[in-house]
């Protein structure tokens, strides 16, 4: 139905005769970069026919910080704090992806305890990203309250991060060859208690309140509908891809770290709309809880840092690391010329790639549907602008 409507709207506006005859006009509207509900600094140029969107052009670059170029002038370990500033809702995944790429270049063995700590931190980060992203989705639909419940969970995870890494957002914790420091002795129990509490809260505080809400369903069901083929063509990854039914997860399909040793399910949904992406996200939180529990149980004792010497000089060549971030696949490509600074670093950020669906999917929707569709992508401006 949406396809038909989109077609009729475009055809109607494309024909100059009709435009002249009835005096039909479209209105151009600028949304952002200073728009209260926009994720970060995104600017959309919209062409509206009444409230129906005819064209949607996303314009990016308002938060561009030359991350890739700066990385070329820094020694290998000094790039890690920069990766923290990419997607600031998935810092651990960024660090992990970069470290995997450099370790691929160096060909080193990571102590197993460090691998478990990395996975543990990444999964906590995933929860700290998925739950607020659900909160943001509802915030954009006009419900202000869920975001504060979501941030309650994020705050507690940030407290754990603070105890482990010393920082709440910009961790610089995952290092090349391991992690900065071992977990403090009381932390495993603290994480366990938090996870158990979250497991109890997530059903009554989120799922029960959101999924049965008629208005939520009517605002999200069928909105941003896409087919699996479309999603694959657009190169989507993460929840936007899995909500169309494509069964792809880097953690399982291109395993890294200790994921092969852990049990978890890849969540997919068939609907391919905003509601499905919400369902995928909230169910991935359950899987993350499962992984965290397994990590805490299986974690071996031992070193957390491989001995790499004082100055890193990777051999000439190329390194590649990919991780499954909360928003999708985060990949890093590092090229070395044998010196102590990388010759080139490239980040493939899921926010940037997933943003492509705006131009494809949005035309034909009503103006208020942009917001749930943004919630489907859940982009972070630090990620798409680098």
């Amino acid at each position: 139905m949406l396809e038909e409507k989109r077609k009729t709207v475009t055809e109607r506006l494309a024909s100059p005769d009709i435009r002249d005859e009835f005096g039909l006009e479209t209105m151009d509207m600028n949304m952002g970069p200073q728009h209260p509900a926009m994720h970060g600094l995104l600017r959309l140029i919209l062409e509206l026919d009444g409230e129906t969107i005819v064209r949607c052009d996303p314009i990016m670059g308002y938060l561009h910080r030359c991350q890739e170029k700066i990385a070329e002038n820094r020694m290998y370990p000094a790039v890690i704090p920069l990766t923290d500033r990419l997607d600031y809702f998935a810092n651990m995944h960024n660090e992990h992806g970069y470290c995997l790429a450099v370790e691929d270049l160096l060909d080193v063995e990571i102590p197993p305890r460090a691998e478990y700590i990395r996975v543990l931190m990444c999964e906590l980060m995933r929860i700290a990203s998925h739950i607020p992203s659900i909160g943001f989705l509802l915030l954009e639909l006009g419900a202000f309250t869920p975001i504060l419940y979501a941030f309650r969970e994020r705050e507690r995870i940030q407290d754990i991060f603070e105890a482990v890494t010393g920082a709440r957002m910009m961790f610089h914790y995952i290092r090349i060859g391991g992690v900065k420091a071992d977990l403090p002795p009381e932390i495993p129990e603290k994480i366990w208690n938090y996870i158990e509490g979250l497991e109890r809260r997530i059903q009554p505080d989120f799922i029960d309140l959101i999924e049965g809400n008629e208005i939520f369903i009517s605002r999200t069901r069928g909105v941003g509908k896409m087919t699996p083929e479309q999603a694959v063509e657009l190169g989507l990854t993460g929840p936007p891809l899995r909500c169309t039914g494509v069964d792809f997860d880097v953690r399982r399909d291109y395993p890294y770290s200790v994921y092969p040793e852990l049990e978890f399910d890849v969540i997919t949904d068939d609907a391919g709309d905003v509601e499905a992406s919400y369902r995928v996200r909230i169910r991935e939180v359950w899987q993350s809880i499962r992984i965290i529990k397994q990590c805490l149980e299986k974690m071996p004792e031992g070193e957390v840092m491989a001995d790499l010497g004082r100055r890193l000089r990777p051999p000439e060549g190329e390194g590649f690391g990919r991780v499954e971030g909360p928003r999708g696949e985060f990949a890093v490509h590092v090229v070395s010329d044998g010196s102590d600074v990388p010759y080139r670093v490239h980040y493939r950020d899921p926010s940037f790639v997933n943003m492509q669906l705006l131009q494809e999917i949005v035309p034909g929707h009503y103006l208020p549907d942009i917001m749930p569709i943004m919630g489907l992508i859940d982009p972070v401006s630090g990620g798409w602008d680098k």
């Binding site: 639909l141 006009g142 202000f144 419940y149 605002r219």
Partner: protein, 330 residues
């Protein structure tokens, strides 16, 4: 001196001045209530720095808004732009003229009080259109178009849902409606008219433009809609009128369906202090307004229209028929 004050122009000016005073204070208190209620719903404390437990927060807000610059727009249609807040605020004051606060405490006991309420609240839609059109901004225009469509559509179920009560009472005067509901809570019109009560309250929320019907504002897509270009006191007046309208709808709902100032049980009659019952009922309804506001997301324009025209209006028509049948049989 007092005799002069009791004569017509002075009497009217005094009562109207008192009403404006009442409504402005009500709006101020409601802003604080809104913040506190939302805070407790959202695991927060709310304002608690100005005065004891944040009670002076409205005063601080008013001082802030008064000292703010009222930014004039070069391209705005100046008079339309400046008059719009007044057009929104006046209906919120004028409706209080016909609402009975207690046995004899009603400013003007019009014999067409219900009609007066309906007529005066429609002026609010005019204010929204003026604000959106006068600002000459695409966001404002979208907000005004939405506001006009919404308020006119929801006026239909609002009026139709009043008809049941009018039919049962046989009078359009609000004091008659209240008198007919005396004797205990089982005589209130909420029981025979339960669907109408719900429809009236829902349409009332839409009339006040609050979540889930706050599309003219829609801060996540059209950033405040018709009020985007306002600042300082003009903005404060729009906000005050919104809160005052909320109080009006609550008061009218309490009057029509919850027995107005009538006590819930006969022995709870407070005599001259029966206005307390009216205040309690209105406050409870205001709390429901805020409860809804902070609990659920908003509709989309087409869904809003579907709800109004395809659900609420047929339901009211059916219930008018049922009421007529009931009256015919008994």
């Amino acid at each position: 001196m007092l005799e002069v004050l009791n004569q017509e122009p002075f009497r009217f000016l005094l009562t109207f001045g008192a009403l404006i005073f009442l409504v402005l204070n009500l709006a101020a208190v409601l802003t604080l209530a809104e913040r506190k209620v939302s805070a407790y719903i959202q695991l927060r404390y709310g304002p608690n720095r100005v005065g004891p437990r944040g009670l002076l927060q409205p005063a601080a807000d008013v001082i802030k808004l008064f000292t703010k610059e009222n930014i004039p727009l070069n391209r705005a249609d100046r008079w339309v732009f400046l008059l719009a807040p007044a057009f929104m605020f006046l209906p919120a004051v004028a409706v209080w003229l016909v609402i009975p606060f207690s046995q004899n405490a009603v400013v003007a006991d019009l014999n067409i009080g219900v009609l007066f309420f309906v007529a005066i609240t429609s002026i609010g839609a005019l204010g929204v259109i003026m604000a959106g059109y006068g600002s000459r901004s695409s966001y404002s225009l979208l907000g005004a178009l939405r506001g006009a469509a919404q308020m006119i559509s929801y006026e239909v179920p609002l009026i139709l849902s009043l008809l049941g009560v009018v039919m049962l009472t046989g009078s359009l005067a609000l004091s008659d409606v209240v008198n007919a509901q005396g004797g205990g809570f089982w005589n209130w019109y909420i029981w025979p008219q339960l669907p109408m009560f719900l429809i009236f309250f829902i349409s009332g929320i839409a009339e006040v433009k609050r979540i889930p019907f706050d599309l003219p504002e829609g801060e996540s897509e059209i950033v405040g809609g018709f009020m985007i270009e306002y600042s300082g006191m003009t903005w404060a007046l729009i906000q005050a009128s919104e809160f005052a309208m909320m109080a009006v709808v609550s008061a009218v709902t309490a009057t029509l369906f919850l027995g107005g100032w009538q006590p819930p049980l006969p022995f709870l009659d407070l005599g001259a202090f029966n206005w307390l019952w009216f205040a309690i009922k209105t406050t409870l309804l205001l709390f429901v307004f805020q409860w809804i506001r902070w609990s659920i997301p908003r509709f989309r324009m087409d869904q809003l229209m579907d709800l109004g025209w395809k659900v609420l209006i047929p339901l009211t028509l059916i219930w008018i028929f049922v009421t007529a049948l009931w009256m015919l049989i008994f």
